[in-house]
């Protein structure tokens, strides 16, 4: 108990927190009252989401030709956006499930935010693979079902596995997210003023009464789902990385892709988490709940993952050189750093490898402005990384005759910006109507810490 308590010490500022009842009311406040800055943001993101819808409509009605893709660049923004969003979706489950299993209690204050981020990122991520199909209305042919044609998906390809992995990940994440929210939804039901709200939260709370048997089952199920979700964090992006690794395209054809992609995914997710968490902490004055300890831990994680990523970049280049293969060498040592997208490569290296190195200094780790900026840089840098790998490699492949650059169209840009808009739209809606801090977990954590308190002082 004592070790755990010490570990908890700076996770919450126990002394400045109000009592349980007041804490509940305070944390549910946001769900019942809107802030003046919410509407403009909500409308702005809604407008961007609308742009997303328009771009999707154009894509589906006119064809993939409305994108900038070509032969050789069969995949560009669409798949870049997909891999990027799905990577972002990794941080949520990593924080909530991975750290749950590892007994990292500091996760309690931020896991709901991270999980919500995961769900909304996955919504975006799952749209792109369907959108990028030439005939999206037949996307279900990638799913193994007993079709009358007798034709099954090709299990040697990574794409049917992609579908399976992303679907599984989405479902488990959704369950995990929703299950964790049940006690808080019940609190919202109980404290809601209007009948309508009571009804809605009541339905969502699935009749949670807070009985001890319910809590017992809840804890067991939550841990179990965490156990299921954790390997998925590893598997999903590994499988996504196989979309590239199983090919023989120089720049894709690499066996380090699975770990490299998983690390990159967590890295990018943490970056977005920082970008979301810091303004929320400041707007809702959650400094007692989201402490410097949280900031520091995330910064340390980013430093670790960013450095591993840098190592992966080096490995890729070294592997290409060491292979002696002229195509690999050209792709990794000439085309990528000095080719048409060379600038993007160096920007990406700067963003993903250099910028997190700031976090060697504690001052930087707890400085919200620095953290937010690094988050933004990494957020963009990780998109660049995917673009450089995916489209960049395709532009310079084996036969110089087929070399061709990629130029995005307004549809490409609209889909990228629009997906960010949709994400924010959903996230703002979540902030407005859902308990975004896991109230029950905070209360439990505080209780544990208070219990440990006298022991510590003794």
């Amino acid at each position: 108990m004592s070790n755990e308590a010490i570990a908890h010490r700076d996770v919450l500022r126990v002394d400045s927190l109000p009592d349980d009842g007041k804490l509940t009311v305070q944390l549910l406040r946001s769900a019942f009252h809107s802030s003046w800055m919410w509407w403009p943001l909500f409308l702005l993101s809604g407008a961007l989401a609308l742009l997303f819808v328009v771009a999707m409509a154009v894509t589906i009605s006119r064809g993939i030709g409305s994108w900038g893709n070509n032969i050789p660049v069969g995949w560009a923004y669409g798949i870049t956006d997909f891999v990027w969003w799905i990577g972002i979706g990794h941080a949520g489950t990593f924080i909530s499930a991975f750290l749950l299993l590892l007994g990292q209690h500091w996760r309690a204050s931020i896991n709901r935010l991270a999980e919500a981020m995961t769900i909304f990122a996955l919504v975006n991520a799952s749209l792109f693979p369907v959108l990028h199909l030439g005939r999206p209305w037949f996307f279900y042919w990638l799913v193994p079902y007993p079709a009358t044609t007798g034709v099954w998906p090709n299990f040697r390809s990574s794409l049917p596995w992609d579908v399976a992995a992303v679907t599984a990940y989405f479902l488990v994440s959704l369950m995990f997210f929703y299950l964790g929210m049940l006690p808080d939804l019940a609190s919202a039901r109980d404290s809601a003023a209007s009948r309508t709200r009571k009804r809605i939260y009541g339905v969502l709370a699935l009749g949670w009464r807070g009985r001890s048997s319910e809590w017992r089952h809840f804890r067991a199920t939550y841990l179990l789902l965490g156990g299921i979700a954790t390997p998925l964090v590893i598997s999903v992006h590994s499988i996504v990385s196989l979309d590239f690794a199983i090919t023989q395209l120089p720049g894709w054809h690499s066996s380090i892709f699975p770990p490299y992609f998983v690390v990159g995914a967590i890295f990018s997710g943490l970056a977005l988490l920082l970008m979301l968490m810091l303004p929320i902490r400041s707007v809702f004055r959650l400094h007692d709940l989201i402490t410097e300890r949280h900031l520091e831990n995330i910064a340390k994680l980013m430093l670790a993952t960013g450095t591993i990523l840098g190592y992966s970049y080096l490995c890729e280049a070294f592997g290409a050189w060491y292979s002696g293969d002229q195509f690999e060498r050209f792709a990794m040592l000439v085309a990528r750093p000095f080719g048409p997208y060379g600038v993007l490569f160096w920007l990406m290296t700067l963003a993903n490898v250099a910028s997190p190195q700031l976090f060697w200094w504690k001052k930087m780790r707890v400085q919200p402005v620095v953290l937010w900026l690094v988050g933004l840089i990494v957020f963009a840098g990780m998109w660049l990384e995917r673009f450089v790998i995916i489209a960049g490699s395709l532009t310079r492949d084996f036969l110089p005759s087929s070399w061709q650059d990629f130029v995005p169209t307004w549809i490409d840009w609209s889909l990228l910006l629009g997906s960010i808009g949709l994400f924010l739209f959903l996230f703002l809606a979540f902030l407005r109507w859902m308990p975004f801090i896991p109230i029950s977990e905070i209360k439990r954590l505080r209780y544990e810490m208070v219990q440990a308190g006298p022991e510590r002082s003794a």
């Binding site: 993939i64 660049v73 030439g134 990638l142 090709n154 023989q248 395209l249 492949d397 084996f398 110089p400």
Partner: protein, 1048 residues
């Protein structure tokens, strides 16, 4: 009714007595049969538009089955000469054009223009009815409104024509394209019978007047040089493109590659301003300006003549010695590079006595042309590899072919009625000729053409002309062989042929005359004139004149085979007049010296960012003189060298571009004495410095929606006196930029030559490296064949199958199981002419995507011609047809998530369109990037008539699916099906569309398992290799590497 009855009653019926009888009237089954039949027949009659007269298929068939294509022979004339063709017709719709194996200009091959003309037939922008101009003085163009042939005849009032143009026809001017058609000649003679004084002129951009004049001066008559590339060991091309351009280029390519296949010592030398198809096969090429070519010709002539003198020892007897012994003073100022090249050429020419060919650019001056004749003469080639025939072009070399006399006639004000028959003089005449203004002055002008083009818009009457697939005619090939043009379809848009209109103007109907009604009918109306009758009359008259058998059978035979038996121009034995040669040499030297003087005075460097350069205008390699500018296949066909589509550009060397600080896509101003144009620059490594090449045929302004505003009209730079080579043009930058739709932007092979092109170490002409190591010198052709087919590679020995743990997916042992399809492509023979690209496009319903999408890299060609340079100097240009390699271990197959691309038992990589969801994963993993994606509904906007071109045997692909070369699976399956129906084992051969049309026969296709398979033998040759062999994809397409040029 009791139950026992059920068992016992024998007359038990379902219905009662009265219902049991058959209903009266039409029975149900018969009714359904009739319904089905009438529905089917209604559809058929709607499609078939067969001509009224009897046409005869190439291969005799007892009956025509619906759905089974039939081939008919016909021919297409371009630049005056015919190429024999076989046209595939599906239920009355011509869908594809192939070469006629019996025709000497084709030998089974067809060029890009011939093949693409089937699309031109269905062009929705063709003139659909006669139109009458409604003059509005303030408009630059004359508006026109639809009219009819009847109204035209009324207005033209043929019977009263002499009243308007004079009884002798002084006021009548006919403007035709140069042609060798005996039918046109006969009809012209008829017109002259009626109007002896009428003016007849011939004009086209590709008139080669210099050639005719040179031969008139040098030989005293207009002759055409004929070349036998099968007998040539050394070919020197001076600015010409004998294997890729011209009326007989298919034949030349065929013969040249035939020779190369047999002997590994055939060498090809090219001097040219801009790299051409021919030079991709060159062992040694030099880039020189057009005047440099003249210098080289003069230099080679001097070398050859001097050598002849020293060889024969006749030192003082030859007039050369007296008058023109080359001295240091009057020799053209050749630089070191040119001097060395001439040295190598001379050595090569010396090594091949009487078996070399020297050809030169037909747009060079008369003096140069004459010297080339003389060079061939001095080398002893005349009579062996080069001979002459009388020119079959009507009135070749006469005043009627001269631009000046045409301009004079038009400007004289004496012309009342101008009749333009095909061509587009308003566009193709030089800018300062101002045809439009002159044509407006005449009282009445009639234009017979296929399009509402520039000429149509300055004419009073626009009459729709027939496409050659809609008309009867007789054409003549370059060597004089005549062929019958038979229509495949009745005119789609009420067109009439040139011969018909000429007969109408002549006022006689020769078709009727043969039937014994001479002149009795008076002036016939157009409706009475039938091209069929004209052709038959001409055919029988010519037969009688040549005292040949004149029977219906000979006619049917000529129509069926497309070639008139025993009809070719005889050889004429001529030698160049020595005095004319010498004066030509003197003239050329003086010209060159003068030019060198001018050049010396002119600041060599670029001053004020304006460069003074030589300008070489040439006809577009893809849209010719603009006549094919409305043909989307040809607009989107990449130029063989620059890979430019949908545009023309000022081609220049990297050095000049660097001096002017221009990049590809920068717009430059090019000025000549008479005009200037703004045109984008395209940097071509291997182009001659200090010169520009610009293609004509672009910048069209007619009503043809596709042609309009594509490229820049460079005719503005020509004057009526300058030829195609303009010695002084100024070029400077405008500072603007445009995007050029280039399908291959990268020139260098990036050191991957060995992997991609199999850059072999086998050299040409190295003796004693045959398998048997016997000396090839004395052992004749057979040894030479063995020598070239089995040269020992000193470095590369690639077996067809790399070392692998896995079993082959299919059994390729001879005689086992299914056929195993494979292809070889000989890079030592491919000129990159792109005939295969068009063949594939028409066979496989490949859509065009337009300039916008080519700019984005979305062209759909299933076979493309890759072009590579080994280094910046462009001393060696490689071309490589690239198509689906049908890999045994296809990288595309394992990544497709829905099994839409799979392998067949006979070794084909199959594409299942209706299973494809369009992930494009297959394309990403294809190392050859030969897969094409339907980014949009490209087939959605095919015009109604355009749909008739589609091959019904090939799926028209929808949006969102991948497609790629299928090895013409529809042909394979048809052959197998037919064999199965006939109850015989399938033996082949099957030809793919690309293979069938390849003039060089560089492509060989067949089954690896069938005995005596050529493809199996070729793919085991030491110089056979797979592109990107190290990837282990085991392609079924094997390339045969180009031989390395001879050392030294």
């Amino acid at each position: 009714m009791h139950i026992p009855e059920l068992g016992g009653a024998s007359d038990l019926r379902e219905f009662g007595d009265e219902q049991g009888t058959r209903p009266a009237g039409l029975p149900r089954r018969d009714c359904v049969k009739l319904l089905g039949a009438s529905a089917a027949l209604a559809g058929m009659s709607a499609c078939v538009r067969a001509p009224d007269e009897e046409i005869l298929p190439f291969v005799r068939a007892s009956h025509n089955l619906p759905g089974v294509p039939v081939h008919y022979a016909t021919s297409m004339s371009l630049d005056g000469f015919a190429t024999g063709l076989l046209v595939e017709s599906h239920d009355g719709r011509p869908t594809k054009i192939e070469g006629n194996p019996e025709h000497p200009a084709s030998l089974g091959a067809a060029g890009i223009f011939e093949q693409a003309s089937v699309l031109g037939l269905y062009d929705p922008h063709r003139l659909k009815s006669p139109r009458l101009a409604s003059r509005k003085p303030n408009r630059p163009w004359i508006d026109s409104r639809p009219s009819s042939w009847h109204k035209f005849e009324q207005a033209f009032d043929n019977a009263n024509l002499p009243r308007r143009v004079g009884v002798r026809g002084e006021g009548l001017m006919l403007l035709l394209e140069p042609t060798a058609s005996p039918l046109t000649a006969a009809m012209l003679a008829r017109v002259r019978e009626r109007f002896p004084a009428c003016r007849v002129h011939f004009h086209s951009l590709n008139q080669n007047a210099e050639q005719s004049v040179a031969s008139l001066t040098g030989f005293g008559e207009v002759v055409l040089p004929q070349y036998d590339f099968r007998a040539a060991d050394v070919v020197v091309s001076l600015g010409a493109d004998p294997l890729g351009w011209g009326p007989f280029h298919l034949r030349h390519a065929h013969d040249f590659s035939d020779r190369r296949r047999r002997s590994n010592r055939v060498r090809l030398y090219c001097a040219e301003t801009c790299p051409s198809s021919t030079s991709t096969l060159a062992d040694d090429r030099i880039a020189v300006t057009p005047s440099g070519i003249a210098r080289l010709v003069a230099g080679i002539y001097d070398e050859v003549a001097r050598r002849r003198d020293s060889d024969t020892g006749k030192l003082a007897s030859s007039p050369i010695d007296d008058l023109n012994r080359p001295t240091a003073n009057d020799r053209p100022t050749l630089n070191e590079r040119e001097q060395a090249w001439i040295g190598r050429i001379s050595q090569a020419l010396r090594s091949a006595p009487q078996s070399s060919i020297v050809v030169c650019d037909s747009s060079q001056s008369e003096a140069v042309q004459l010297l080339v004749h003389a060079i061939n003469f001095e080398l002893g080639n005349i009579g062996s590899t080069v001979w002459y025939t009388r020119s079959s072009i009507i009135e070749a070399g006469s005043r009627s072919h001269q631009l000046s006399s045409l301009m004079e006639g038009l400007g004289s004000g004496e012309v009342d009625t101008l009749i333009v028959l095909n061509g587009n003089p308003a566009y193709t005449l030089p800018a300062n000729a101002d045809f439009a203004a002159r044509a407006r002055v005449v009282n009445s002008s009639v234009y017979l053409g296929q399009f509402d083009n520039e000429t149509a818009r300055v004419s009073t009457w626009q009459l729709p002309a027939t496409h050659f697939l809609e008309e009867w005619g007789i054409e003549c090939a370059y060597n004089g062989v005549q062929s019958i043009v038979q229509p495949l379809i009745s005119p789609l848009y009420a067109g009439r042929s040139v011969a018909e209109l000429l007969a109408f103007i002549a006022g006689v109907d020769p078709g009727k005359e043969t039937n014994g009604t001479v002149g009795s009918a008076g002036i016939p109306s157009l409706g009475q004139i039938s091209g069929y009758d004209l052709v038959r009359a001409q055919f029988f008259a010519a037969n009688s004149a040549a005292s040949r058998v004149n029977s219906e059978e000979t006619w049917r035979d000529a129509v069926r085979r497309g070639v008139v038996e025993n009809f070719s121009s005889p050889r004429v034995s001529v030698t160049p007049r020595q005095s004319e040669v010498l004066s030509a040499r003197g003239l050329l030297h003086r010209q060159l010296a003068a030019e060198a003087g001018v050049r010396g005075e002119r600041p060599k460097a670029v001053a004020n960012e304006v460069a003074s350069v030589e300008l070489s205008l040439q006809l577009s390699r893809t849209v010719h003189d603009g006549r094919f500018a409305d043909n989307a296949w040809l607009q989107e066909l990449p130029d063989p060298i620059t890979k430019l589509t949908w545009d023309n550009a000022a081609l220049m060397a990297p050095g000049l571009a660097a001096q002017l600080r221009l990049e590809t896509g920068d717009v430059a101003t090019v000025k000549s004495e008479v005009g200037s144009v703004e045109i984008p620059v395209l940097i071509v490594p291997g182009h001659a410095e200090d010169s520009l090449t610009i293609a004509l045929g672009y910048g069209r302004e007619g009503a043809e929606a596709i042609a309009r505003a594509v490229g820049v009209n460079a005719n503005a730079l020509r004057s009526s006196t300058s030829g195609m080579n303009i010695s002084d043009a100024k070029v400077s930058s405008t500072g603007r930029r445009v995007e050029l739709a280039i399908t291959q932007r990268h020139w260098l092979v990036e050191g991957r030559g060995e992997s991609i092109l199999g850059h072999a170490v086998i050299a040409r002409g190295v003796e004693g490296r045959g398998v048997e190591s016997s000396d090839a010198e004395g052992s004749g052709v057979d040894q030479q064949i063995g020598d070239s087919l089995h040269p020992v590679s000193t470095k590369r020995k690639s077996s067809r199958r790399p070392l692998t743990l896995y079993e082959p997916p299919t059994d390729t042992k001879v005689g086992v199981g299914a056929d195993q399809w494979a292809m070889t492509i000989d890079l030592d023979q491919c000129t990159g002419c792109s005939a295969c690209v068009v063949a594939c496009q028409s066979e496989n319903n490949i859509p065009v995507v337009g300039k916008e999408d080519v700019l984005k890299g979305r062209e759909m060609h299933w076979i493309r011609i890759d072009r590579y340079l080994s280094d910046d100097s462009a001393s060696r240009i490689d071309v490589q047809p690239m198509l689906c390699q049908h890999c045994e271990k296809a990288p595309c197959e394992y990544v497709c998530p829905v099994n839409a691309t799979v392998h067949s038992d006979d070794g084909l990589n199959e594409m299942v369109y209706n299973r494809c969801v369009g992930t494009r994963f297959c394309s990403n993993n294809c190392p050859y990037k030969v897969r094409r994606f339907n980014w949009y509904e490209y087939n959605g906007d095919v015009s109604e008539p355009g749909k008739m071109q589609k091959n019904p045997d090939v799926t028209v692909r929808a949006r969102g699916v991948m497609e790629k070369c299928t090895f013409c699976i529809q042909r394979i399956r048809r052959a197998q099906r037919e064999a199965e129906l006939a109850g015989e084992p399938y033996t082949g051969p099957v030809q793919t569309a690309c293979q069938q049309t390849c003039p060089s026969q560089a492509i060989v296709f067949g089954s690896l398992t069938s005995r005596d398979s050529e493809v199996a033998a070729l793919s085991e040759l030491p110089r056979a290799f797979s592109a990107l062999e190290e990837l282990g994809t085991i392609p079924r397409v094997r390339y045969l590497s180009k031989l390395k040029p001879e050392e030294g």
